[in-house]
């Protein structure tokens, strides 16, 4: 569904991504793990059209046959093609209500009836959001905010969901719940690219995974295989060999 080929991205004078290749197939959860500063968030921002691409390509399969060049599209177009990012640190509209946040998730959609139906679905999926629809997003707890961030992204009806550090700053119990939710959504057919520092949790649910180190992909393979890889275990899982 999504292919990154030889992708290079700079931030200022620094080459953050030094030619990475990555593929996400329909129906998969693909994890991208790596240390702080490896370039994980930069990868997602490049896909979302927030950062200019220096070299290489970002291709998205399209129904019309020819893949689309996401690297040449502005952010508004990328969203319109169903590639939706749920950003690091949640980035909710803190001063707007829960309902308004959800409606903004559906900003590019014009099918009003379906949007209404999706709002009802979000209230089922995350009952607390239904109860607090009139409350400001900034007044929710950390876990509730994460649910709202995911629900807001789902309101866009993503073909591909880019999840950036969904477990960041959450209590362990809440992390479990979020990962359960991610798995459940995937079973319903949402394809995902998951960026995580919590490598163990990410590798456990991912079909395949890539390890990013200072702008290069250094390992890739099925999640379970990487869990057994001695170098990955030592560097990212804090486990001995």
């Amino acid at each position: 569904m999504l292919t990154l080929a030889e992708l290079e991205v700079r931030r200022g004078a620094t080459r953050v991504l030094r030619g990475i290749d990555l593929e996400v197939r329909r129906g998969e959860i693909v994890a991208l793990i790596g240390a702080n500063g490896a370039g994980k968030t930069t990868t997602l921002h490049a896909i979302s059209g927030l950062l200019p691409v220096q070299a290489g390509r970002i291709l998205l399969d399209s129904e019309e046959g020819e893949p689309l060049r996401l690297d040449r599209m502005p952010a508004t177009e990328v969203v319109a093609r169903g590639v939706i990012q749920c950003p690091e640190g949640r980035q909710l509209f803190a001063g707007l209500t829960v309902l308004e946040n959800l409606l903004l998730g559906a900003y590019r959609r014009s099918d009003r009836e379906e949007v209404k139906r999706d709002l009802a679905r979000m209230a089922e999926l995350f009952p607390v959001l239904g109860e607090r629809r009139g409350q400001n997003a900034g007044s929710l707890s950390g876990g509730e905010q994460m649910m709202l961030a995911i629900a807001r992204a789902l309101m866009a009806r993503p073909r591909l969901l880019l999840l950036d550090e969904p477990s960041l700053g959450l209590a362990p119990q809440m992390v479990d719940r979020i990962f359960e939710t991610i798995l459940a959504l995937n079973r319903e057919g949402v394809t995902m690219l998951l960026v995580e520092q919590n490598a163990l949790a990410a590798l456990e649910i991912a079909h395949r995974a890539y390890v990013l180190e200072t702008g290069r992909i250094v390992r890739s393979g099925p999640g379970s295989a990487l869990l057994d890889d001695p170098r990955v275990r030592a560097a990212y899982l804090g486990l001995g060999t």
Binding site: S48, A75, V79, F93, G95, L96, L104
Partner: protein, 297 residues
Amino acid sequence: MSAYFLQQLLNGLMLGSLYALIAIGFSMIYGIVRLINFAHGDLLMVGAFTTLGLAATGLVPWWAIAFLVLITGALSGIAIERVAIRPMRGAPQVTGFIATLAVSVVIENGGLILLSGQPRTFLFPEIMRSRVTVGPASVAAVDLVIIGSTLLLCVLLLLFVRGTRLGRAMRALADNLLAARLMGIDVDRTIMAAFAIGSAFAAFAGLLWGGRFGQIDPLIGFAPGLKAFVACVIGGVGSIGGAVLGGYLLGLAEVMFVGMLPPVYSGYRDAFVFATLILVLLLMPNGLLGRPEEDRA
């Protein structure tokens, strides 16, 4: 309530309405681009001279003049954004400030060259100048028109930002730029809309200002622009409700200082205005309704 007090109250509400109309634009624009548009006050002048020009033809009815002034203001605001603000996006904030200051100098001096510094008179139609009795007080009809039309515009603006897709996008953009882009909001178009609406309001204030005080010149926007900026800071920069509140507080304070204190002090009205500002900021550094804001280039 004494007749005198009611009279002063109405005067204060009238002046406050004018400040509020200008302050709304300051705040909307700051909220989205984190930039004080120093040329904003000059849109008052643009509105006043547009009114004068249209009224002088004698062909355009007043309701149409009001509509055309709003349009002219909106187009001027869009032009300012295109010429001076958009190219500065991503530059340090100071650069943007100086760019808008330059636009202000260009508009004012362009006005002086094209229109001359000679003050000109324009008058609202007879009916607007007639006196109306409100309880024990009597006011010019124009004052009630100013208060009424400001309230109407505020209600329309509130319905717009709360109830429409574009209005929601504006608030989203002011709240969180990154998230707004990730929702697929067209940032350029939304910024343009904010400039259009804020500037239309300021130009409309120009129509009212000219009609109320009778004389206009190309530098007429400077002082009200500064006061409206103060109003906007008092209310909390970036908050539309704060701008309206600040505008009315400032208008009322100004009139009350002059009306209630012994006449010797009336020359110090602006000193009182700025003392109020300092006091508010000492007690509430973010203004009455403002929230602490992150920096944004």
